[in-house]
Subunit: 223 residues, 2 copies
């Protein structure tokens, strides 16, 4: 048998990315800007949550948005109509954002004018969870129609996040989503995660989310 | 409306990759080594075709293999049992190989002892087609059970390849695969592609593939 050489591509890429992410957190700390990485499947409500959040706390917290979700500028334009600076990372179908892409986007923003930058990550529960973007906190959305089994299928995503927004709670009554089982599955992976049950359509439950996010931003800025 | 800045992540990444791919082709030219990039869906028969090829032409053509297909060393070990040097790129679930990964793998090989290096790319008909690996020629496998509609769904892959191996022809009789329609769909995307109808199980049709590959290797080495 001839020799088999083994190259761990992913380890190299992830360790380079980690170093770049730490540089980004240093930059954010110096500028007192909080960076939130928001992840979910396509259609779970990332853009809706961002728009709701801008309208609710945008007077108290100066917000900017990095859009990586889709292959157009539609979401960035929606955000920008709220009067908020937006950078669109046109990923052209790539499955995740990494720290160097976020670094490029932050270079385009005037950090002195911002308290909070929200990354709307690529719609995907797999790859984005593997790449540290340099964010201070990671949040995910799981919408009720996606099903209560998702923590079993995407454990890394649920383990990586500091906050979980369960969106489309208005669908709960007509669904077979078992909220108790879902919470148990999430807590088994990540006992410390903060869970918010909301509807971006009706606005129900969002106050707790705004309070959590505002608190996190203030804590970071006062450090 | 606030300003929207647009960053074309993919263009930057692909243009960096293209430059690295050209460096690899220069390296191959200097060393008179031919590099074949073999792509397909999982289970189409990449490893089987490589093993068949080694057994058929391995005495005349000194072959090495770069394995990127799966998250283990199983395929590399199979190849290596044929007495052929193999490098395993453990991608850990990444969806494609790029030129810099292939450069890392070639650095581990003694090019002076090789005529042909075959890349077994990640099993996926989308992302691998977008990244120039530095290969001299691109080939793909489509197996009969995958269906005759695949050129419509994955046009870039069919457009990018110089050779198409239609594998598992032994399944054709019992299937609704329309070979005439398939050829028409492929030719509409890529009139110059060489098509080989084979069965890696029975060996049928493989002589034409061996002849094509050997001819390509010789032409490159005599340049």
């Amino acid at each position: 048998m001839a020799d088999v050489r083994l190259i761990e591509v992913k380890e190299d890429i992830l360790s380079d990315n980690k170093a770049r992410a730490e540089e980004i957190r240093d930059l954010l700390r110096r500028n007192r800007v909080f960076l939130l990485n928001l992840m979910s499947s396509p259609g779970s409500g990332k853009t809706s949550l961002i728009l709701r959040t801008i309208r609710a706390i945008g007077d108290a917290v100066r917000i900017g948005v990095i859009e990586g979700d889709i292959d157009s500028v539609v979401d960035a334009e929606k955000v920008s109509r709220e009067g908020v600076p937006a950078v669109q990372l046109r990923t052209g179908g790539f499955c995740h954002l990494d720290a160097s892409m976020i670094g490029m986007a932050l270079d385009e923003m005037d950090l002195a004018l911002l308290d909070l930058v929200v990354i709307e990550n690529v719609g995907n529960l797999v790859c984005p969870a593997e790449f540290d973007t340099g964010a201070v906190r990671n949040a995910m959305i799981l919408s009720v129609p996606e099903g209560d089994d998702k923590p079993l299928k995407y454990p890394l995503m649920f383990s990586t996040c500091d906050a979980l927004v369960v969106n489309k709670m208005d669908y709960l009554a007509g669904s077979d989503f078992d909220m108790t089982a879902f919470h148990e599955r999430v807590r088994a992976l990540n006992p410390r995660i903060d869970i918010f049950e909301v509807s971006c359509k009706t606005g129900a439950g969002l106050d707790a989310w705004y309070k959590w996010l505002t608190g996190e931003v203030r804590a970071w800025k006062s450090n």
